[in-house]
């Protein structure tokens, strides 16, 4: 068996720790993510989905437990340093792109993730054919707007750009935090499809939070349900295939 690419050992977080309002958000999460896993994560509001991502991403300190990436303890690694192996797409299209820079400039920035940024000319022209190619995988004319400032794009185009930026330099781990939730149903479907294609093609390891039960069932090889800071369901492969909407409804009603 291969080693997990990401491992959470008994990860626990609190809010208002050491005060009378102390509350546990994550209650000892144990999770092993293997290379190539595409995990969809379900859970009602307050279940700890975003907190889980924030601890993996390093925006939030872990109060107890450990996080390992490729068998190395990264529990205390800074947010910036984690970006070398981890990328993330947020729900808000505004968070993932620089509005005054053009689409191609944004992609160029993303391509240099983890590389040294020195006093070397950026070489934008050389990259244009490559950018043309990857943007044309999105069915939303993004490839025709390479020289448009990202702030002038539509929400769907902007989020597609965020997604491309997160994957243009292959991350070891990709976190998708409801990245299609702010989009209309059609645009959302298209971006999810493109997401799925890209993940399969590049064999990315991905964790995706979603609120749509259908999407959670349709995509990925593994499904996790979070409830009150604990993993309630964790099914993989054939077991996930057998899972139906009714099964999930039952869990959510409890």
């Amino acid at each position: 068996m291969t080693n997990p690419i990401l491992e959470l050992q008994n990860v626990t977080t609190y809010v208002n720790r050491h005060t009378p309002d102390e509350q546990k958000i994550l209650r000892g999460i144990n999770l092993k993510v293997y290379p190539g896993d595409f995990i969809t994560i379900l859970g009602s509001n307050g279940a700890g989905k975003s907190t889980l991502f924030n601890t993996i991403g390093g925006n939030l300190a872990v109060d107890d437990g450990h996080i390992l990436v490729n068998d190395k303890d990264v529990t205390h690694l800074s947010e910036e340093k984690r970006t070398r192996f981890l990328s993330r797409v947020f729900q808000d299209p505004k968070l993932g792109t620089a509005p005054r820079m053009t689409v191609s400039e944004n992609l160029l920035l993303a391509e240099k993730r983890g590389a040294r940024r020195g006093l070397v000319f950026r070489g934008l022209k050389r990259q244009m054919p490559h950018f043309q190619e990857i943007t044309s995988t999105m069915e939303n004319d993004l490839s025709k707007r390479l020289n448009t400032p990202a702030g002038e794009l539509s929400g769907g185009q902007r989020q597609a750009l965020s997604f491309l930026m997160a994957t243009i330099k292959r991350p070891d781990i990709l976190l998708l935090d409801e990245h299609t939730a702010a989009l209309d149903p059609k645009t959302s479907r298209e971006l999810l499809k493109a997401t799925d294609d890209r993940i399969r093609e590049d064999k990315l390891t991905c964790l995706m939070i979603t609120h749509h039960l259908e999407d959670a069932l349709k995509y990925g090889n593994r499904l996790i349900v979070l409830d009150k800071g604990q993993i309630k369901i964790d099914v993989t492969g054939a077991e996930k295939q057998k899972l139906t909407m009714d099964d999930l409804y039952k869990y959510f009603e409890i």
Partner: protein, 308 residues
């Protein structure tokens, strides 16, 4: 005529101040008050060094370095000390006042009879006021070209991205603290250079010459933007210098109208406030329609710009 030449020359020398401020105010997107301390500091260091016998070129370079150090202090207070940028700038600006007095030993020193960048054969052979136009133009071109090139490098792009979207920059492994410190250092270095040049052009340094400087720098930036509209990054750098010259013209007109130089800070503030309110005034007074109606010739479509 000589008044106009003088205004253009001053516009170039003060334009460097605008370019420096542009780096923080427009690219990094925060107001840096350090300016009010580093401008007179550049002047003080340069004039004091020259009067101690240093060559004007070295003295000017020294002024740049000292300005960068002040910028570094602001940057460290802001990023590592977690002091809000406005306050960090005010702290350093206030500290600079005392330091400037220490450097000069008195509140005002003159360069009378001393060498300066302006006292060389070639510049002195030019007609009156053309010395500052020539030297100012050369330095503005060098500074603008270097900055334009810098902004096209990987580092420059990371710098722009930091000001544009900090969250994103962080997620792309850009060290935003380093970018901010670097921006503050380069910016204040340029502002000190501007101070050193203005002092050499005026022939003296005064501890109070920093008062209201930030308004003058912002006025150059905003006038450039109001007059020239939507531009690329490199064009915007040039527009700052143009804005600085236009601002000198405004001052010239105001002085011709009979105001005294004591009124200049009041007038600078009014000019800047009006420029900043322009988008709002435009909407409120329907200025766009007014202009459109008065110019009856229909514009071709591509020339119509949306002002947002």
């Amino acid at each position: 005529m000589s008044l106009i030449t003088s205004a253009i020359g001053q516009g170039f020398l003060w334009g460097i101040l605008g370019i420096g401020l542009f780096l923080t105010f427009r690219i990094l997107d925060f107001p840096d008050m350090t300016v009010e301390g580093t401008f007179p500091m550049g002047a003080a260091v340069c004039v004091a060094a020259i009067s101690h016998g240093m060559s004007p070129i070295l003295a000017t370079l020294l002024a740049i370095v000292v300005g960068m150090v002040a910028g570094l202090v602001t940057g460290l207070l802001y990023t590592k000390g977690r002091i809000p940028i406005l306050l960090a700038g005010i702290l350093v600006m206030t500290a600079c006042y005392s330091i400037n007095l220490r450097i000069m030993g008195t509140s005002n020193i003159s360069l009378l009879g001393k060498q300066s960048l302006f006292t060389n054969h070639f510049l002195e052979s030019l007609p009156k006021y053309f010395d500052s136009v020539t030297l100012g133009l050369i330095i503005v071109i060098i500074v603008t070209a270097l900055l334009a090139m810098f902004l096209q490098t990987d580092l420059g792009q990371a710098f722009i991205a930091t000001g544009d979207n900090e969250t994103m920059a962080k997620s792309l492994d850009i060290h935003i603290d380093s970018m901010k410190i670097m921006g503050l250092m380069v910016s204040n270095g340029l502002i000190a250079l501007s101070g050193a040049l203005v002092a050499q052009s005026d022939g003296y340094a005064d501890v109070n010459m920093g008062i209201g400087i930030i308004v003058i720098g912002l006025a150059s930036i905003i006038i450039g933007e109001v007059v020239f509209g939507n531009l690329s990054m490199n064009q915007r750098l040039v527009a700052v210098t143009c804005g600085s010259i236009l601002y000198r013209f405004v001052l010239l007109i105001v002085l011709q109208l009979g105001f005294s130089t004591n009124d200049l800070n009041l007038i600078s503030s009014i000019v800047l406030a009006l420029c900043l309110m322009l988008p709002m005034l435009r909407k409120a007074l329907h200025l766009d329609n007014l202009i459109k109606n008065s110019v009856k010739t229909p514009l071709p479509d591509k020339k119509v710009r949306n002002h947002d």
